[in-house]
Assembly symmetry: C2
Homo-oligomer: 110 residues x 2
């Protein structure tokens, strides 16, 4: 998919990553691949998000060796992170409802 507006992703990627890590600890490369299935994205975008969220205490990390390459850094959602995720998710859903409702109204007027 050719993307003319990369801006749509802003903030949403952070939410997606937190949702992915919520149920199960994940490592960075894995997250890059999973997010890519939903939205076109590259490594240089995801790793900085992981770093930022770790610095802000939303994630905890630990290393684990891999038989397929260098060690993997796993991310685990903290209690603080879960709170943040809940807030973001609620906000996204509300935001999206408002925007989608407006778009539907516009389509009706045509």
């Amino acid at each position: 998919m050719i993307i003319i507006n990369t801006q749509f992703k802003k903030g949403v990627l952070e939410l997606l990553v937190m949702l992915m890590v919520e149920n199960e600890d994940k490592y960075g490369y894995e997250l890059v691949e999973e997010v890519s299935k939903i939205v076109d994205v590259n490594e240089g975008t995801i790793y900085p998000i992981l770093k930022r969220l770790t610095n802000e205490n939303y994630f905890e990390t630990y290393l684990k060796e891999s038989t397929e390459g260098p060690p993997r850094k796993y991310y685990h959602l903290t209690v603080l992170g879960k709170e943040r995720k809940d807030k973001l998710l609620g906000e996204w859903i509300k935001f999206n409802e408002n925007v989608s409702k407006f778009i539907k109204e516009c389509e009706h007027n045509e």
Copy 2:
């Protein structure tokens, strides 16, 4: 509504503004108020968008006197602007479908 993630708006405001101008020419202040009904936003955000979209030939403008204050600058969507709007709208809908689908899947897993 207290907004923790202002990033969600990125790119979407541009789309909202174009959708609003599509059916009827509108002036800036009017657009600020209309967008505010959907998403919390301030003047300093909308006017630069209008300027940018005009510079990029998506909007044409003309002035009209007002009995309620200084003259109003009206924005009209050009053919190029309509194309841009269609592309952005399609992209937003697709993007949103993907994200919403993923979020629903996450909610199922809980």
